[in-house]
Subunit: 268 residues, 2 copies
Amino acid sequence: MERLSLNQITTERWNLREAAEGCARAGIGWIAPWRHKVAELGLAASAQAIKDSGLRVSSLCRGGMFPAATAAEREERLDDNRRAVDEAATLGADTLVLVCGPAPDRDIDSARGWVQDGIDQLVPYAREHGIKLGIEPLHPMYAAERSVINTLAQANTLAERYAPEDVGVVVDAFHVWWDPEVYAQIARAGKRILGFHVSDWIVPTPDMLLGRGMMGDGVIELRRLREAVEAAGYAGPIEVEIFNRVIWDTPGDDVLALMKDRYREHVL
Amino acid sequence: MERLSLNQITTERWNLREAAEGCARAGIGWIAPWRHKVAELGLAASAQAIKDSGLRVSSLCRGGMFPAATAAEREERLDDNRRAVDEAATLGADTLVLVCGPAPDRDIDSARGWVQDGIDQLVPYAREHGIKLGIEPLHPMYAAERSVINTLAQANTLAERYAPEDVGVVVDAFHVWWDPEVYAQIARAGKRILGFHVSDWIVPTPDMLLGRGMMGDGVIELRRLREAVEAAGYAGPIEVEIFNRVIWDTPGDDVLALMKDRYREHVL
């Protein structure tokens, strides 16, 4: 239970102070804030709220979104990523999660190239600030709208261009569970695994974005995936990250209680 | 234009006779019937309707659905696949498309094993009847509900267990466009490519099942994919297969006219 982390999007109605206090009440020791929630409260107040609740930060969500149609726009995206690194450092996160972004047009290969260019340029800045970059492959159904990095194999190949101290991967069960190569690629990632996220894949899936389920409500072999990332060497926090309208409409304290039960039953 | 084929689901409101006559009016020389539509009209009447309209059959949709919780159920699925082979032969199709089916539970590896077992058992029967089996990898977002075969790499590995005369793969642009390995896997498939399907990926995607778009309305590099399957050796019919409520609600003749225009503009 000491590895459980609340990814803040799971309690979307709470601001960061409410989420931090909710974790403290529930005995959850980790939190993963989202940048729009940090901005809402202010960076200094966010860091203070997390400190006041005695929490550690498992990651900051999210940097990335590198591809854009013009060089000027790509430079703006990079500036925003540098701000994300600053925020991660101020909040005491080790890892900035990268959701790498969609293509601005039909040319997915160029977009993938811009992701690599963006990471190339971000790495020295992140290293200087003591922040690791965690490339999170997103489910292929998000390839057109959120990220052109869609398999763990692809994320590993990208990460391996850099030192393991600088760039790794984030394994989110929802995004990778379907992949015939997932266990081989988790083993390949090894010590580069910088985060492990859990939720579930509900059948039938109610919505492409807001259709994730609480652990145990779907078909993902969560325990098997948890054992695989541990066998690969990962011993860090396990984030629960759920985009789901019904869960968002549930009082946060109830969500945290259910999350703890389901984590115990289906992940541990 | 002589390679264009109507996958019958694109004009879902038409029965098979109406679809065949619609193709003849539009100057489309190929059709891919669906089994529930064949059953609706009757097998002999379906074969006659296709013959009367002077069409050739690009494939029959669909066999597969191999995984099931009990051996008895899996045997029933196999019986149904044998009937599908019979129907394909009667209709004059060369290829039966296999949508391999979801797992009955959380155990995706066992389900993948049952797919292989099912194909093992079906191959001799299909060969005897002159029917090739075309394994169609489905988009990973359908892994829990429609098929545990989700990448072209996986379909190729499965197909390569058999003679190229017996088992190949079907490349549907909607299912594979996002895959970083798609062009390498198309080249690998080579002469095993038994079909090529086109439609488009709309942004934002309106629905997981009924959200496919007409060619040109989305982000898929259709021409590039068509050139790749041709470079790999495929010279057969190109099916337009679109699950989309708006298109289904449009008069079939209008859909066929639009389909021809878009095929010319975005595929050829």
